[in-house]
């Protein structure tokens, strides 16, 4: 196990280190990887559904494999059809708080969606953002322990995100569903929404019902026209988690 942990970067290392509480029933899970990288990520079966959900928020390690690569034939499609890659940010979207093992932040809703398309093409599985109702279903199952103990919030986070999985797992075996980075979910129409609350919110304001609708302040200081459709200049509290359809 020690050798395995040492060999795995970021996500897998953290999730192995912080295992589920003994009291929680172990959910079925699997570890996936991206060809050509050392990045691993873990998916957990959602009880009562055919759905799998990420044990942690998507990390920079995994997002960089998308954002910093060029389309290639391993995506299983022609380069003409390839998933577009994010533009290069002018600045530091991770704010220097931490990168390896930390949740990706400052990403636009459409960028998170494109990431899901890319990961699906890379793995041959169907990965995407959760719908709002899927996220709520997971949140109801996961809730049950004090969010103060499980979550990074304004009083314990010190103004930054933290490495995923640093807090104990919840009842479903997931980490950071509440707090740390708020998480994009798909909505039927209108402005995009994040759920769960973030490290900027008070402990009592995060949890299964926490919900924020994107507004202009999230990208207020992008000084370009058109504004980036990949990065948000003022949303260090926004990340995401993926689900897998059967």
């Amino acid at each position: 196990m020690r050798a395995l942990v040492r060999r795995l970067p970021g996500v897998a290392m953290v999730s192995l280190a912080a295992s589920c509480p003994a009291s929680a029933p172990a959910q079925e899970s699997y570890t996936d990887s991206v060809t050509g990288t050392l990045v691993r990520f873990e998916m957990v079966k959602v009880p009562g559904t055919d759905l799998w959900i990420g044990r942690t928020e998507v990390t920079w390690d995994l997002y960089d494999a998308f954002a910093l690569s060029r389309p290639d034939s391993s995506e299983g499609r022609s380069t003409v059809d390839a998933v577009a890659r994010p533009t290069r940010p002018y600045g530091a979207p991770d704010y220097g708080w931490g990168h390896a093992g930390f949740p990706v932040i400052s990403v636009a809703y459409t960028a998170a969606q494109a990431f899901g398309e890319w990961l699906s093409a890379k793995t041959g599985k169907k990965y995407r953002l959760p719908t709002e109702s899927e996220w709520e279903h997971v949140a109801r199952l996961a809730a049950g322990t004090s969010t103060d103990a499980l979550a990074w919030h304004v009083a314990n986070a010190g103004g930054t995100t933290h490495a995923v999985g640093a807090k104990p797992a919840d009842a479903l075996g997931l980490h950071d569903l509440f707090g740390n980075a708020a998480e994009w979910v798909t909505v039927r129409s209108g402005r995009p929404v994040v759920r769960g609350g973030s490290f900027r919110d008070a402990a009592q304001a995060i949890g299964p019902s926490a919900r924020a609708v994107q507004d202009d302040t999230w990208n207020e200081r992008d000084p370009q026209i058109p504004q980036s459709r990949w990065w948000m200049s003022d949303a260090p509290f926004v990340g995401f988690r993926i689900v897998r359809e059967p």
Partner: protein
């Protein structure tokens, strides 16, 4: 001093002032004799020179700042496709925003492309101009704008070489004598959080400043793949970031923001710089000849040293910010002071990219035009000083650099062939050089 009345705004409203009476001088015209109501009733007509993402963004920001009191009436860019893209992007904003629809008033007759587009924009009936081309063009455009009697918003940096900085200093002085406003895109100077912290630092909240660190470390930036039919000049200007004659290199183009904060905190420009840098990761010819990392030791007049570090390399630790140390505390000037007089900014956060235009427009309307020309020229030379310390490997002294024979403008006057300048080599490269030196 009578040629500053060509703009519609100034022609209609500028009047002679008696507050600066000096024997023998013809006085500049200002708005100071107007009542505030009369001044604010005037629409300030604005032209944009350089219509990339930032020029378009600055146009949007001044419209946010100015309300019905401003209009964008003319635009110019070297490339017709970039000009059209910017026009279409702003027209789209106008179609979605009733205020912008009233503000965005360019017509086919006021859209100009080509190397002389800036002259054509300046020849229109505008009161103010936004200068947002690649910085290598800035000194010439600024001089022309001042000569034409326009108020100016100009992006940073404002020059790429010693000759350009001297030109900007002269233009800033000329603007002052003509009561023209100059605000530069060093937007931290207009950020309420920075302003609030800096006021306390200057009032002694952390004692005497003894040192600091400034950073802009991030990954690589965009690159436009060369297309068939592009001349060398077109390829280099479309990829201006990667050519020192056009951008000044990334320490000047990007890290200037943090170096400006150092000068602001210290209340002075550095007197000496020693540093290292290189081109280690971004070595492909598509990325011109600039470096991808610098680390510079800036020495200030009081003997304090500020360590500067900037990098554009993928997969490395990111950080953008500043920190200063005093005899009684430390500060992250973006928000807080730690020490005997600890302070955390808790005021209203405002968008500094809009605030800089709010301040600029207010200064024009009250007849007390801001003039940041000298200040931003000094910051630009400070950044150039860091670049030259790394490029040459020598200790760079302020006065020598300011007076150096360094002019990086290529000899071309239009599109055509243009070699890629050599990558600078410490120990060999000289401060006194031309575009290919």
């Amino acid at each position: 001093m009578t040629d500053d009345t060509s703009g519609r705004f100034s022609r209609r409203t500028f009047v002679k002032t008696t507050t600066m009476a000096t024997a023998g001088l013809v006085l500049p015209r200002t708005l100071s004799a107007l009542t505030p109501d009369a001044a604010s009733a005037e629409v300030i007509r604005i032209g944009v020179i350089g219509c990339g993402g930032r020029g378009s963004g600055a146009a949007r920001d001044v419209m946010r700042a100015g309300g019905e009191g401003v209009q964008i009436v003319a635009m110019g860019d070297l490339f017709p496709d970039r000009l059209e893209r910017a026009r279409a992007n702003l027209a789209k904003v106008a179609s979605e925003d009733a205020m912008v629809e009233k503000q965005f008033k360019v017509t086919p007759e006021t859209l100009f492309s080509g190397f002389d587009a800036y002259q054509k924009v300046l020849a229109t009936d505008i009161d103010m101009v936004i200068l947002a081309t690649p910085p290598g063009f800035r000194p010439v455009h600024l001089a022309a704008a001042v000569a034409a009697g326009k108020h100016i918003f100009m992006e940073k940096p404002v020059a790429v070489d010693a000759a350009g900085v001297r030109s900007v200093i002269a233009s800033a002085a000329a603007a002052k004598s003509k009561n023209l406003a100059i605000v530069a895109g060093t937007q931290r100077r207009h950020d309420p959080a920075y302003v609030s912290v800096m006021r306390r630092v200057h009032d002694g909240a952390i004692g005497e400043l003894t040192g600091g660190e400034v950073y802009w470390n991030q990954g690589g930036l965009w690159n436009a793949a060369r297309q068939a039919g592009w001349s060398d000049v077109e390829w280099q200007i479309r990829n201006w970031l990667y050519f020192t004659w056009a951008s000044g290199d990334h320490i000047v183009e990007q890290h200037i923001h943090n170096i400006d904060v150092a000068n602001w905190a210290m209340g002075a420009h550095p007197v000496r710089a020693v540093g290292v840098g290189g081109r280690q990761w971004r070595t492909d010819g598509a990325y011109g000849h600039i470096f991808d990392h610098f680390a510079i030791d800036f020495e200030y007049p009081n003997g304090a040293h500020v360590m500067s570090m900037c990098r554009q390399i993928d997969g490395t630790a990111n950080f953008v910010g500043e920190r200063f140390v005093g005899t009684r505390g430390t500060t992250d000037p973006s928000s807080r002071i730690t020490g005997q007089q600890s302070f955390t900014f808790a005021g209203e956060k405002k968008n500094p990219y809009v605030e800089e235009h709010v301040d600029l427009l207010a200064s024009i309307r009250t007849g007390k035009p801001l003039n940041e020309g000298q200040q931003v020229a000094q910051t630009t030379l400070s950044a150039i000083m860091g670049r030259e310390a790394a490029y040459t490997g020598q200790a760079i002294v302020w006065d020598e650099l300011l007076n150096a024979s360094q002019d990086l403008a290529p000899p071309q006057t239009g599109f055509g062939s243009l070699a890629v300048p050599p990558v600078a080599m410490p120990g060999t490269t000289k401060v006194a050089r031309t575009w290919n030196g």
